[in-house]
Symmetry: D3
Subunit: 246 residues, 6 copies
């Protein structure tokens, strides 16, 4: 197999194909928004909780806040990982991911229109097969949308503070071939890995590319972005369809 001929993907998936995407709303009962998002075997429960308070830096500002926390069940992965609560601190990776989710969602929110309250997004990985942070962003948007619908239904706000949709996908180069939506084995083997967060209008919100071992060229980056744009458009359609259902 030449360097530029990648191993066939699991299930015969095309290089530019997403894994099956499922967005199950109302997955749990109590949260104002609760969505199980699945990218193939990656499963993340995203809940959106409305809290009638804001962090200190927003108090008295008239503006609200959108924040995110991320966690992984100890056996979401092939080998059991430490429970962060037992170890007494969140890893750098966890903090990096939850900051990314928070920024991505805030980017499509008009915090003034939200009013002085918080939407707390909890993204907990039930099963991990690559792409958990991008699945989390994609699912958290739907959960946040349901929480906003609840606020509207309750009469707490009269117009939606959501300005646009937002979704995310990973792309990477494996054996020289750009691939969309990496699963775990691909992610481990890839030379370059990029997470792309994009709005409904097609603007980038976050873009994080990392070379694993070998630096990547601008041409490679461009082909990855092409793939990512294609994938995110499909995710945005899936979000829309999920939200259109009763």
């Amino acid at each position: 197999m030449s360097k530029n001929e990648a191993a066939p993907r699991a299930g015969g998936r095309a290089a530019d194909a997403l894994r099956p995407v499922r967005l199950t709303r109302h997955y749990t009962r109590y949260a104002e928004g609760s969505v199980l998002v699945e990218f193939g075997e990656t499963k993340v429960l995203c809940t959106a909780s409305v809290e009638e308070k804001v962090p200190p830096h927003k108090r008295g500002s008239g503006e609200g806040w959108v924040t995110a926390e991320y966690g992984m069940l100890p056996r979401a992965t092939h080998t059991r990982g430490d429970r962060e609560a037992a170890r007494g601190k969140q890893s750098g990776r966890t903090q990096e991911i939850q900051r990314l989710i928070g920024r991505s969602l805030r980017c499509v929110f008009d915090l003034g229109a939200l009013g002085e309250r918080t939407i707390a997004l909890d993204c907990d990985v039930i099963q991990a097969d690559g792409g958990t942070r991008t699945a989390a962003i994609t699912g958290a948007y739907v959960a946040a949308h349901d929480a906003v619908s609840w606020l509207l239904a309750q009469g707490k706000i009269t117009a939606s503070p959501i300005k646009d949709a937002v979704a995310a996908i990973s792309v990477g180069i494996v054996d020289g071939v750009p691939l969309l939506d990496l699963e775990y084995t691909e992610d481990s083997a890839c030379d370059t890995d990029m997470n792309v967060v994009m709005t409904g209008a097609g603007g980038f919100v976050e873009l994080q590319g990392t070379a694993e071992g070998v630096a990547f060229t601008r041409a490679e980056m461009n082909s990855l972005l092409d793939l990512a744009e294609k994938g995110i458009r499909e995710l945005l359609a899936a979000q829309k369809a999920a939200l259109a259902a009763a």
Copy 2:
């Protein structure tokens, strides 16, 4: 309504009836045992992970170990709770519950027959409506059983170290009436709350009764134990049925 006439239970449930119990095996892919246990709206994911190491106090003993950790997703409950990993420590309640689960499961294990390895049980509450610790014990047994079957299939052990089944239920007195399997609203209102852990052979493994406000009599305790025994027999049957399925 007189003191001894309790409010009718949700869904017309009888005082001595369990909520619908579901045990879904193979709920996630990677763990050697993975069971979603549901007691009505209480849902706990129990995974059993085999680890080829033991804690320091067992090293070189030839014996294995069975341990448990417990967690609750922040929005498993009516109002969002702090994420313990973010707060940097597990609450006393969490530690108390995970110690209880660990002791309960160890009681039915022959640690010598397990060999010098650990079965780590992770019990994560996806949705909480009362009875999470008893559901966790009941589900963890099935997950542990699947992990043992995996060890047998792998040829790592030749005989099962499981000596008996184990299951658990909560009972309590609400408005003077003994009730089986309390759901959240009943648990909040109850005078006395008891968690009972019992083996297949009918012996008690753990018994934790707590008066909430008013002390309870020995007669009340006896009627609670009668209820608990009835409920646990049904749970043991449900475990057996689940394990009998392919």
Copy 3:
């Protein structure tokens, strides 16, 4: 020696006998209540501190709070244990015990009659020979009573918020024989261990039975409760006598 014939107890103690119980009031000077409780060689210093504030969940409620903390001096035991302050966290066992003490004492308090203040009970084990948590509850009651007398003497309250006495004892089955008030070597060897907390009126406040290795039957439980009731009646008498002294 047959299975049902236990080794004679240290000092020729009968199976249903408590160790010598001593309750020394005013053991230290500053606390509103300060009691050294001794169950044989187990020695626990229980202080009750009155604090004119309540935890957040009671603020503005008009009700008070009773809380407990538990600690063990590093060399209270046969081999030196880690200092929890140095290690940076309390063990699960410590938290379990201090929650038990707190619940047990609150059960005999009318928190409304206490007024919006806290009685903080500190139970520090000077020397441990089994039964530290039950000694702590028994001594903490006397310390709390002294703190209430101080509140009355100061005119801060006009009627006692204490509704009843409370005391606790451990019981267990060693080599098939039910024993009252286990000392350390018995506790290590026992099959079943139960801690019972009871009020002056004879109601149960807490009941925690744990099988060590072998599950216990309901008949065994009943004989343990008989023993516990006998022991607690003696402890209640000892508390009464201690409080009657000047």
Copy 4:
């Protein structure tokens, strides 16, 4: 001023100009590499320490490791920040940055050629005026290079494990105008902020773009990358000149 006409930059700096860059080697005495890097008023002390041990995941692998830690003196900024050591934990931002520095440097190292030892890079911000993480990467490379020279001089290795140079710069869009090397006031005001890490050969190692409020287009991203490439070429030249000096 139109949206696309930015305020003139401090000191009349052109949109595509770096601030004055200074790389002072041998800044402190003990470290195997010690470099003060200045991007204008941003000053970061980068030390490289050689340690004859590796983290657990590399033990026995024959490979070495390159790692980084990042810190900021409390009064490096306009208002005093908490000391992370006093607060007892590193912020998410700190961890994110030190992970970025570590990955960036590892990308140009042949860990096998380094041998089973660690180069620990400490990047401490003495004064912060924007771009601290990019200055840190740029300075850490020079410090790491000096540590490698020391290893060669000591005869501990016979060939350099450094495969290429690496440097980093920030770019951003302020009032619609793409700017190179943002200082603090520009960083606070910018719509989009991108950190770019590039090798001597011109490949990307890391690329992190974040929209602040408004998503950015692919065209904007391309103009930012053009700026970044220009700036990094100048930084690579400055590194080369610094290392050529005695």
Copy 5:
């Protein structure tokens, strides 16, 4: 009252008089040395534990180690203090004191003659009325001596590693008058406070003087040292007498 005429001391104590000193050996059962030391109302339990291991920096050195930990029961003081184990860290004051005790004791030990083992000194304040750290050092010496006697009796060492005795006292200037052995109210009121640690041979081991508000002169320091030497000679005699008893 003129500046140089201090208030009479409690109980008519002379300026150069110690409070009553009591050293009760064998205060608890399990420790190799266990001493309750009382300086008036200050009561500190000092236990010495022999551990057959040494900290990392002594492993393989053939030398032993002497270390100390210090704690205060929450209600040892007039108002209840936080429990350090509950708060999750030891205060700076606690660490300062335990480092002082450790250094003071190590100064009279021949660590080589001790052999590769540790004597761990736990000093826990039961009641505090000023001078807890000096009482702790004075009592810890006696406890350490008992632990050494135990080591000799066990045949683990054949000659005592103790080179000299060590004791400590506080002195201070209150209203211009130098006082020996400050109790709490004097300590709070004093201008200058000095802790002096001295050996049996009369050499200083530690000397820590602190001005509270007003700096002190060398003449004042000299009069304080005169007082301290007198007091420590009496403490050394009390230690000798205690150790001479059976």
Copy 6:
């Protein structure tokens, strides 16, 4: 070489000579006071930050506060030390030093005249060659003075709250010879080590003497204090000269 004939000091320094002292004001830009203090190769950055708030125990008192924090960059020393922020806590040594600096500075401040605000002194060791705490105190005084000048210039206070100058030096006995201002190799080798903090008026503020192995006599102490007084007078002159410069 006889016991009382010390090895010649580095650079031919006399036993009673300070290392070259440099006090560089305005070392960084943002702090109200910022001083790099150098005692030979020991370099400490001292910043003074004015904060318009006070700690809880001073709120509403009308008085201000002066506090200090101390840190050491990981590679300030010969071998790399752990980063305290990464380890999650400050060492006992660090806390001891920052408490010493805080007390020393408060001793020359009229906290009432400062008004209800805090001067926070951050002392960060860039390079350590012995005497970091005494350099820190000496430099922190100059930084605090600059912060007070800023307060006066801003019109926030109308009279200086500084009552006197304060400086500090270490002295020690090496091979029987008393030496002023120990550098690292001397500090490691010394029998006795003393840190002395003195005011402009010649009073002692702090005096901390520690025997390393061999106790010291009062005569030795006196010769050390003579040396310290000489050294501190020179430091006070250096502070004055630095503050006299524009």
